[in-house]
Assembly symmetry: C3
Homo-oligomer: 342 residues x 3
Amino acid sequence: MSKYFSIAFGIGSKNKKSEWLEVCYPAPLFQPDDKLLTAIQLSIELKGGNEVIELNAKQAKNCAKEIAAIDEHQANILTSLIGDKPLVLCALEKDEAPSSTPETYLKLQLLSHRLVKPRSINLNGMFPLLPNVAWTNQGAIDLGELQERQIAARLSGEVLEIKSIDKFPRMTDYVIPSGVRIAHTARIRLGAYLGEGTTVMHEGFVNFNAGCEGPNMIEGRISAGVFVGSGSDLGGGCSTMGTLSGGNEVVISVGKDCLLGANSGLGIPLGDRCTLEAGLYVTGGSKVEVLDEKGTKVDTVKAATLAGKSDLLFIRHSITGAIQCRTNKSAISLNEELHSHN
Amino acid sequence: MSKYFSIAFGIGSKNKKSEWLEVCYPAPLFQPDDKLLTAIQLSIELKGGNEVIELNAKQAKNCAKEIAAIDEHQANILTSLIGDKPLVLCALEKDEAPSSTPETYLKLQLLSHRLVKPRSINLNGMFPLLPNVAWTNQGAIDLGELQERQIAARLSGEVLEIKSIDKFPRMTDYVIPSGVRIAHTARIRLGAYLGEGTTVMHEGFVNFNAGCEGPNMIEGRISAGVFVGSGSDLGGGCSTMGTLSGGNEVVISVGKDCLLGANSGLGIPLGDRCTLEAGLYVTGGSKVEVLDEKGTKVDTVKAATLAGKSDLLFIRHSITGAIQCRTNKSAISLNEELHSHN
Amino acid sequence: MSKYFSIAFGIGSKNKKSEWLEVCYPAPLFQPDDKLLTAIQLSIELKGGNEVIELNAKQAKNCAKEIAAIDEHQANILTSLIGDKPLVLCALEKDEAPSSTPETYLKLQLLSHRLVKPRSINLNGMFPLLPNVAWTNQGAIDLGELQERQIAARLSGEVLEIKSIDKFPRMTDYVIPSGVRIAHTARIRLGAYLGEGTTVMHEGFVNFNAGCEGPNMIEGRISAGVFVGSGSDLGGGCSTMGTLSGGNEVVISVGKDCLLGANSGLGIPLGDRCTLEAGLYVTGGSKVEVLDEKGTKVDTVKAATLAGKSDLLFIRHSITGAIQCRTNKSAISLNEELHSHN
């Protein structure tokens, strides 16, 4: 049992106004050992609550010395961070709504380090705390300081490459989870959760506070808030509706061993072992013909009614044009299930 | 009133044959003040017409001195450009078809600096003027000079990263418009117009001579020539037919406050407040059932007939498979409108 | 006639355990001249079979001297490779299943150098021979050696940019084929075959052992094993089912002068001059109404039946929702063709 939600040592970047642009925590801790907390407090005063404490080199060295016997790895990490960049201890007593940039960055990194699952932590009000930053080959740069640096780079025969201008950096600039393949790192935002055994192909995408359990083959888009169960594959270019992008109140998720076909789209949560035909977009409002194990039409329902059920195959009939849902259940059990909420 | 269409100071790159590869103009002017033109002419002779004048360091210093009182910002920009790279003044008296690489680059940068709107300037015959270039972390490189530099980089433990081999560079290597977020800069070509308040997500794409008014959320593809009105959202992976890619003679555009659903596609111009269902591709030749405010079918028309009209919702009926267009108009007014051109 | 399948000089990277991460062969040879083989053997012993022979600087210099009279280009390449990086001669007597990392890399480069066509060489068992590598701006890095280098880079104000974590690198870090445009190099894997005159736009993608004859406009995804004939265009976001991704046993291919519309999908091989409507996904199991030259429905067949036939237009009827295939053939010849296998 830990007294704290999370603590982490990190180094970050600030703009010329001394405002935080980002913080990188190489080895954040979730529910840290109380002994470590006690050791930290020998050199750093924790007031309780959620704190971001900047450390100078001397403080960091002292702290590393105090904690070395308890947690050698953290001591080594802390020592390796000492240098010219701002160094912080971010200590979160509780999982409250974040109130600063370093705190928000810690929470995103807890997700990508697989220490917490998507949708399990409090990220309320995080957007204004994330500055819009130019992510470049020279690190994070404040947008107001960009043009002069670009001209200077050009004149010296270099390119100041701006990879993105965004509130979120690439995950791999902060966290490299074990056992994954990521064909194109530009498409994974910090805050994504990629379970062991995940392959994200070039057309795959994973937003923050979203991800997959692993193993998974992801060639489609996992929108913010969406989570995909183990063994499920997302085909090339498939879409999942996110809470930020049209999924509204309903949280989209995909169970285990599902297949979303290439260029398909999902607007309802799926249970396990479901298949969505390539090219078919099913939204909650789509009317769907439900067929039993013998292929007989049993009912016509809104797709939302089928949310979360397992062993479904969704197709659009190629002659009638109707969206159909086939199951491996008999007409009787199917009818009961469909109308159990009526 | 200005005597000139545009002038700009820039620095560029040439290959070993002294042919232009590209030119960057940090602060181009559209319809420049006549006083500035007069001041420039104190040190540089403008012959009229469209000119690209290379300046040596002395000429540039003199020119900067002459214009400092009229336009301090331009004087500072010009001074900051003095160095080893070829330095030019590009002066375009009229908006004629471009006749050189530096001139074409200026026009593309006028678009991305939001000084002119897509489809408002003369870009005829521009393609042969844009050399196919390797865009690398060491700047623009002629394709013929690439392999030896790649081997040399490898031997020294570096990578000469080739980001693209294309006639168009990334917009953000030249222009960073204010008030935008661009999740992946590789997907915005120079010549794109991104209005204030635009967010382009990872799956978004904007070609040259195309863009959006802002604010907009762009998660789909804005093809060459397509313009999107303010408040409209393009869902993930949606497609707009461009003049280069199947839209033929019809110019596709999207009005205000529209929504193109994820994985949808648009082959006709839309008015304001229109919605295209996720996953539905509507082309000009698609036959569409038109329903009135009560949901009664009033007519069946080609989608091209509905071009530019407002307040339309396009769906594919999930049971009959028919593409339908619902409006908020009565059958009578709808019929009149549909057949007003018969 | 050559006694060997392929030989090539290359330089590569190893991890700290001296395991190969990758090898780059700037100028591999397919079916090399026997005279060159003889000259090589004056300084290097070839035992026959498939060999990877590491050369020190002295051996490389000697070999370059021996072969200079026979093949000056190879001698120059070999000389240019001498330095600090591991230098190898990879000599493959026969096209057998690869048995090492350098051998697999050679085969992938034969494809991208257009020396062999996709599906024409033996790549069996290659996956375990390709290590999962972090591809960075500092070259290939073993995943286990990554974190310490990232922290070190950050502290020195740099970014160790990880472009991908994958078994395959980008093609353009190894091979730049002539006469191509590649809008975004991250989307072309080593082992792709891009014929002369190919343009791959931002949304295009080409996997290994796959590609196109050229000239082609590729704005969609060419999956592993898929080959596209000359003059065919793949519209934005279109999908081709690959042997790794749902195409199963059937090898998908596209003939000459075809058009796959934007956001369409292909699950059967196409002949020449076929068109797939934008937004339509045709799989082998789709039932399709076949219409003759007059638009009369002649038959309803599984799409797989139409595999490889030419001059077909696939659409989904926008009112009935049925997938239809229109041809320019009469009902009689069409019926004969459709039922010739019955």
